[in-house]
């Protein structure tokens, strides 16, 4: 199948990573550890810890699906600055491929 060529070795998108990547996209410039955490809890009802999200973000950044920059601090953060994440075009493409794969597979599912 054609799309398999695009997925390079080591850039496979895990299930949780995909979720985080989607949230980063949704939050559109306001994505950092805690906002992602609350968003996931709100939208999916899943309980996750901060460190899992950090790990996922780190992997995504390594795969160049997200970029990050240092953002503002707040009192609740103990005066420490945020790291804000943004989805890259490669990230968006990876999400699209992932969605396409799924859709293709759904199309192959025999009807009821």
């Amino acid at each position: 199948m054609a799309f398999t060529n695009i997925i390079m070795k080591g850039t496979h998108l895990g299930e949780f990573e995909e979720l985080v990547l989607l949230i980063v996209g949704i939050l559109n410039g306001d994505a950092y550890g805690i906002s992602i955490l609350t968003e996931i809890e709100e939208k999916t009802g899943r309980k996750v810890t901060v460190s899992t999200i950090h790990t996922a973000l780190y992997r995504l950044e390594e795969k160049e699906y997200v970029t990050s920059q240092v953002g503002g601090a707040s009192k609740a953060r103990g005066g420490r600055s945020k790291r804000l994440y943004e989805i890259t075009s490669a990230g968006r493409q990876a999400l699209e491929i992932s969605r396409d794969v799924r859709e293709n597979l759904w199309n192959l599912m025999p009807g009821k």
């Binding site: 805690i34 955490l37 810890t49 460190s51 009192k75 945020k82």
Partner: protein, 872 residues
């Protein structure tokens, strides 16, 4: 989000800060904090635990700093820590005081490390055996004279096994000097012991070659120590299975024995004397005559009793057992004592023949000195700090004024003392490390260096340093933080100048030093008294030659005759006892009906008294049998005359050893043993070869100018008689000196540590004097301008310290006398603590103090007064 967020536990954040790389730190910590804040409505305790767990999970390897980075971070933290900076600044500003503190503390800590290692080593004897707590040495207690002996009889262990079956294991070993012949070579083994095979199950003795399973379990087997094996067969050779010839003199047998194994070198904290072990079954067979003898003691017996109930039963039951074998009358005089194995090293001074150098009193004394030295050093530190109080007072006042809280001030001082103490601590540790070798040589013990890094020492060292920090930093901090800040800023310090503690501490320091000086001098006096006191005979140029072999003993008169022809031999005699004598034979003497006592018996020849140069006070010397009935003649010493209370001893007939004998002479009491033992009643008589008490030593007086050539010629004579026995000789004066080894070594240790403690005290005193002369420099300069001479100024400053040192001495004196008296008590021939010693000790204390004070005061007194008066 609340406006004043609750913050998570600081230490967790701190931990993450130390460990996580900067790149991730803000993100992770910020998010974690925010998360904590989000969940702030939950129970604090549970939340904190959750926070900790989450924080731990964020410690991923890729986020961690390298070790190097962590170290750098810690250094950064401490350097930029304000307390550290201020502390360092104050230390560097007062270079002189800081170096005095550092030198004093380093010396004290090094000494303390050595002392602690020594004490640990001494108290750890035999503890490496896994079952050490259940092992006991059986001690024979003879009640009438209270004597203790570690020798037991042949039938003891069989009876114990018979009486209390299955509840204990026993291991015996008995000394028997032998010659070991390997091919052409012959080795004298003084430390050959017959031993039970159970020795290897009771004790943890590791084998280099062979195995402990069947070692010594049958006759004609031997086990060697590593050292002896190397001597016999060379390094790295496995001798198991080889046959050696063992010549036993007492048993008059030659045995072919097979090497069963080689023992690994034993740890240095044990004092088993054996070098070669032979199957005890050989000995039990050879000395069958002692099989049922309850009077001949020759075996060291160790018991392993693991069940405390069994121990109680056996310990209580030995009374009945002895009664069964000895009869009620004799048994009532005897007692078996079970001495715990771990106590055998330090608590055996009173046990006869126990030639170990351990003594719990010495260990306690050395340990106490260690604490003294640390005490003196911390006093130095406290003194310096309090002395400088009012200089620091201004600083502290301003700090207080600016809002520094008490805990902050205390922290500041603790940091400062922490820097000093830990720097000294590290230097002292390195010094101890470097000087370990000389130290072990000095105490002549192979104390393993691994002890230095053992948990025990490391922990105590840390605790000692922290205590020092708190003691030395805490006290000045406590005083300063309590004082009125306004007065401090204005420089009013009447409250401070009244601080008397400083004086008390100087008194204490010099009291301790004077105490150590006094004790050292008393011990030195006693030891030199013992080595120099006239023994009642002339021990110089006197040589003892021992004849181990029964063959040679039979020819002793012939050998003596041949040796007397050697030109350098002034005179020669034979004797049943060496010098110093062990007095192995004690008989009963009855001088009037129902008047009996034990007396030591020595076989000699007519030349004996003349050779050792002692005097016959009364009557005649012994003569050879053919001239009169001298086989029945005896000479007794003064102690015997006193003990029997005889007015006219010469000519009296007494019953000695079941025979009537006539006293023909009285010899003066001479010290046939070292001065640690009292001279007991002794009877001398002429003997013929072939008895237990027969002469087996030649005592030779040699011309001082021809010592080595004479000994060479004597050896030639010896070789013409002996087949392969080694010519074995000892100088009497050396042997006597060696018996004071334990005292001499203690004196060395005590002396060295006393010098160290005095040194540390002097370092402190020096600092104090420097400080005082500095403080009073203006006053002294004005005095000088007004015409005071150098001696006036020196007197002025020294007066106070002289008083303090003298008060210290006066306090130390009674204590020193008490302790020294206690030590001197156990010597039958002892010195008294004379006024001379006391004056000398006081003189030394004062002299040392004056020398320390003098240098600086004279310097101040000589300096140009303008120097101090110019700037106001």
């Amino acid at each position: 989000m609340s406006s004043t967020p609750r913050t998570p536990p600081k230490w967790i954040d701190q931990l993450l800060e130390w460990l996580i790389r900067d790149y991730f730190l803000d993100e992770i910590l910020g998010d974690l904090n925010e998360w904590y804040d989000l969940n702030a409505d939950k129970t604090r305790f549970i939340l904190n635990i959750k926070y900790f767990l989450v924080a731990i999970r964020s410690l991923k390897r890729y986020r961690l700093k390298t070790t190097q980075n962590i170290l750098l971070y810690l250094i950064d933290m401490s350097i930029f820590n304000n307390n550290f900076r201020v502390g360092m600044r104050s230390i560097l500003k007062n270079r002189l005081f800081s170096s005095i503190n550092l030198i004093g503390l380093t010396t004290a800590l090094t000494a303390a490390l050595f002392i602690y290692a020594y004490v640990l080593h001494e108290t750890s004897y035999h503890s490496f055996h896994p079952k050490a707590d259940s092992i006991f040495r059986i001690i024979n207690h003879y009640k009438p004279d209270g004597s203790l002996s570690r020798s037991t009889t042949s039938p003891l262990v069989p009876s114990l096994l018979n009486e209390f079956p299955g509840s204990a294991e026993y291991a015996r070993f008995g000394q028997d000097p032998v010659y070991v012949n390997i091919e052409e070579a012959s080795f004298y083994e003084g430390n050959f012991y017959w031993a039970d095979s159970t020795l290897f199950t009771i004790f943890d003795l590791e084998f280099l070659y062979g195995s402990k399973q069947n070692a010594l379990n049958a006759p004609n087997k031997i086990v060697l120590t590593e050292e002896v094996s190397t001597k016999y067969f060379g390094e790295g050779v496995n001798p198991v299975g080889k046959i050696v010839e063992v010549k036993v003199y007492d048993g008059n047998q030659v045995l072919s024995m097979q090497v069963d194994g080689v023992l690994k070198k034993m740890p240095s904290n044990q004092d088993f004397p054996f070098e070669v072990l032979g199957s005890i079954s050989n000995a039990l067979d050879m000395y069958k005559q002692f099989e049922n003898s309850w009077s001949f003691s020759w075996l060291h017996t160790y018991a392993l009793i693991e069940d405390p109930n069994d121990f109680e039963r056996i310990n209580a039951g030995t009374v009945d057992m002895l009664e069964k074998h000895l009869g009620a009358e004799m048994a009532s005089e005897m007692e078996l004592i079970f001495q715990p194995l771990k106590e055998t090293h330090l608590y055996s001074q009173d046990i006869r023949g126990a030639r170990n150098d351990g003594n719990i009193k010495y260990v306690i004394a050395i340990g106490a000195i260690g604490i003294f030295i640390l005490l003196i050093a911390s006093i130095n530190y406290i003194n310096m700090m309090t002395a400088r109080l009012y200089r620091r007072g201004k600083e502290v006042g301003i700090r207080k004024f600016n809002g520094a809280s008490k805990p902050q001030l205390i922290k500041l001082f603790l940091t400062e003392s922490g820097i000093v103490v830990f720097t000294s601590g590290i230097v002292a540790f390195s010094l101890a490390w470097l000087m370990w070798e000389p130290f072990t040589v000095f105490v002549s013990k192979e104390i393993p260096m691994s002890l230095l890094v053992s948990k025990n020492i490391a922990l105590s060292y840390l605790v000692a340093m922290i205590t020092l920090v708190i003691l030395a930093g805490g006290y000045p901090a406590w005083i300063l933080s309590r004082l009125d800040m306004l007065k401090m800023i204005r420089g009013v310090h009447e409250k401070l100048s009244r601080v008397q503690l400083r004086r008390v501490l100087v008194v204490l320091q010099f009291g301790i030093s004077a105490f150590l000086i006094l004790c050292t001098m008393v011990i030195w006096n006693q030891v030199s008294y013992m080595s120099n006191k006239s023994l009642g005979f002339n021990k110089e140029q006197l040589v003892v030659v021992q004849l181990e072999s029964k063959d040679l003993q039979a020819q002793i008169d012939v050998i003596k005759g041949a040796m007397s022809n050697v030109s350098g031999v002034l005179s020669i005699a034979s004797s049943g006892e060496s010098l110093p004598s062990e007095m192995n034979n004690t008989w009963g003497i009855e001088w009037a009906p129902e008047k009996r006592m034990p007396i030591d018996v020595v076989t000699i020849d007519p030349q004996y008294f003349e050779t050792i140069e002692t005097k016959i006070l009364n009557g005649n010397n012994l003569t050879l049998p053919f001239k009169s009935d001298s086989a029945r003649s005896i000479v007794i010493n003064e102690s015997a005359v006193d003990a029997m209370n005889l007015d006219e001893p010469v000519g009296k007939t007494v019953n000695l050893g079941g025979r009537n004998r006539r006293i023909v002479g009285v010899v003066q009491d001479f010290h046939y043993q070292s001065l640690q033992t009292k001279t007991e009643p002794v009877a001398y008589m002429i003997g013929t070869p072939g008895h237990r008490i027969s002469a087996d030593n030649l005592i030779v007086r040699i011309k001082p100018s021809e010592v080595s050539s004479t000994i060479g010629q004597m050896e030639e004579v010896w070789d013409s008689f002996s087949r392969n026995e080694v010519f074995n000789f000892k100088f009497v004066d050396e042997t006597y000196q060696n018996s004071y080894e334990s005292e001499t070594r203690f004196l060395q240790l005590l002396g060295a540590f006393a010098v160290l403690s005095i040194l540390v005290a002097c370092i402190g005193l020096f600092g104090m004097v420097v400080f005082i002369t500095d403080e009073r420099s203006k006053e002294l300069s004005i005095r000088k301008v007004l015409g005071a001479g150098v001696h006036n100024i020196v007197m002025l400053v020294s007066k106070e310290f002289t008083m303090l040192v003298l008060i210290g001495f006066v306090i130390a004196l009674p204590l020193g006398i008490l302790v020294s008296e206690n030590w001197l008590e156990r010597f039958p021939y002892r010195t008294e603590i004379s006024i001379l010693i006391i004056v000398a000790a006081a003189g030394i204390s004062l002299l040392i103090a004056w020398l320390t004070i003098g240098f600086n005061t004279v310097k101040t007194a000589l300096s140009n007064p303008v120097k101090f008066l110019r700037n106001e």
